[in-house]
């Protein structure tokens, strides 16, 4: 199978704008809401969403990055130990509404680890999940996203490639490819 384009630059822009509108609908002026991007790849989407939200609401919304590496359930079950990334949560999430942001929702295991890792920073009032791509039929755990950019039917042998300008790519593009 060749690389197949799922979202091009224009469509991605429309999708992210729609996700922001949905967030504004549910969170109003974002008084008690914080946004947390998942390391390593969800942080770029979180940055993008924050920028758009702050522009349209004219509010400062707290943004954090969360790394769930040490909370993963596949330690000792993979070839090499997963490498950690920086966690930067410069606020207390106790009592806050957390919007967890990741690029792709696949098995749901990273999200489980993230929920676990988040507890170290307090007990949030509510946690919502926002993903750009939801890979249907691939879930290992009962986890679902509250905000979805696009649902894609994929095989386990396939991979979703997210290329964002913030990661150094020429254009924002999302691809579906085969592994290897």
């Amino acid at each position: 199978m060749q690389k197949k384009l799922i979202l091009d630059s224009d469509l991605l822009d429309i999708t992210v704008n729609r996700l922001c509108q949905e967030l504004i609908e549910n969170h109003g002026d974002f008084t008690d809401t914080v946004i947390i991007g998942m390391q390593p790849r969800g942080i770029y989407l979180a940055d993008l969403i924050l920028e758009k939200l702050q522009k349209s609401t004219r509010k400062t919304i707290p943004l954090g990055y969360l790394d769930a590496t040490f909370h993963r359930d596949d330690f000792r079950r993979r070839e090499i130990p997963a490498k950690g990334n920086e966690t930067r949560i410069p606020f207390v999430i106790e009592g806050k509404k957390v919007v967890l942001v990741d690029d792709v929702l696949f098995t749901g295991r990273s999200i489980r680890a993230a929920l676990d890792a988040m507890i170290a920073f307090g007990r949030p009032a509510k946690v919502e999940l926002l993903v750009l791509i939801d890979r249907k039929y691939n879930r290992d755990l009962p986890i679902a996203a509250d905000y979805v950019g696009k649902v894609v039917n994929t095989l386990t042998s396939q991979r979703v490639l997210v290329e964002l300008q913030a990661q150094g790519h020429k254009q924002n593009k999302i691809w579906l490819t085969n592994k290897d």
């Binding site: 909370h71 330690f75 000792r76 090499i80 130990p81 997963a82 950690g84 170290a120 920073f121």
Partner: protein, 308 residues
């Protein structure tokens, strides 16, 4: 590549520069973890670690145990002083009996150089050397280099003087290997009787005058006089040693330059370091202790993750 080249951490001599850098990057993450309100992560929750100490230790044993518990490992502690070793059991028998209780990793301190290397040839569990006699103390060297990197932004090209009882010090040897691998310039300084004869073959400079060594270096790593390992007299008296090699505030002030003072502990106050230096702005001794937990978490995490 995020995997160590070795199954055990027996000494710095056996690992590569890339290994050391991987340990540092992982330790950065763990340092962040241990400064959170909840200092624990579940990574090693299905692993059991035995801390086997045939020699006394406070800092290293506590530091390893904290690192293990913060990674959620199950921990058993063993001190030779109140065990069947006293009844004549051999090292291999003792360890095999502990491993028969399904232990995955062994952290060992032993008075004999090479004891963990011997063990690594006979058992399958991961071994972390927590000090073998006068040979190596790899996690101490890693945390020392990590502390220098944190304080000065890097290790390569920096000048580090190791001052004191080099002959009996496993910290000195491991530090020399680690610092050289990371591209630092290393000098050893002490009385001629406490410097090994062929130490310059390790690519280090040798200096007998402590003032000159301090003038040369960015960082002074000061070591304790290990009286418990000295069967003969290497210098006339502790007072005389302190007079010629002790570092005090007056000496540091007279250098008129920034300098960092490190010490692996335990300090003999008034011998190698005076109290006004140990507690001064120059000293990063307590930062070293904090970094020790992060470094040991990184080593255990990387070794445990590579076993399957």
């Amino acid at each position: 590549m995020s995997k160590l080249s070795q199954k055990h951490l027996l000494g710095i001599k056996d690992i590569t520069k890339e290994d050391i850098e991987l340990i540092f990057e992982t330790a950065d993450n763990f340092k962040d973890v241990i400064n959170r309100p909840i200092k624990k992560v579940p990574s090693l929750r299905d692993i059991t670690i035995a801390n086997i100490f045939f020699e006394n230790s406070t800092r290293t044993r506590l530091s390893f145990e904290l690192a293990e518990r913060r990674l959620s490992a199950d921990v058993i502690n063993f001190a030779a002083s109140n065990s069947s070793v006293k009844k004549g059991e051999t090292l291999l028998d003792t360890v095999n009996n502990i491993l028969a209780m399904k232990v995955d990793m062994v952290v060992m301190r032993h008075a004999s150089p090479g004891a963990p290397h011997f063990l690594s040839k006979h058992i399958s569990a991961n071994i972390v050397n927590a000090g073998d006699g006068t040979h190596e103390h790899p996690t101490q060297a890693l945390l020392d280099a990590f502390s220098i990197r944190e304080k000065l932004g890097g290790v390569a090209g920096k000048k580090i003087a190791i001052i004191g009882d080099i002959l009996h010090s496993r910290v000195a040897l491991s530090n020399i290997f680690a610092l050289k691998k990371l591209g630092a310039k290393v000098m050893v300084c002490g009385p001629p009787t406490l410097l090994p004869k062929f130490i310059n073959q390790l690519g280090v400079e040798v200096e007998f005058d402590v003032r000159k060594a301090l003038l040369w270096c960015d960082v002074a790593n000061v070591l304790r006089i290990q009286l418990e390992r000295q069967q003969i007299k290497y210098f006339p008296s502790l007072r005389e040693y302190s007079l010629y090699y002790g570092i005090n505030k007056k000496l540091l002030d007279s250098l008129k330059k920034p300098i960092i003072i490190m010490h692996p502990g335990p300090i003999n106050r008034g011998v190698e370091l005076s109290s006004d230096v140990a507690d001064s702005q120059h000293s990063i001794i307590l930062e070293q202790v904090e970094n020790g937990v992060a470094i040991r978490m990184a080593v255990l995490y990387l070794l445990a993750g590579a076993t399957v």
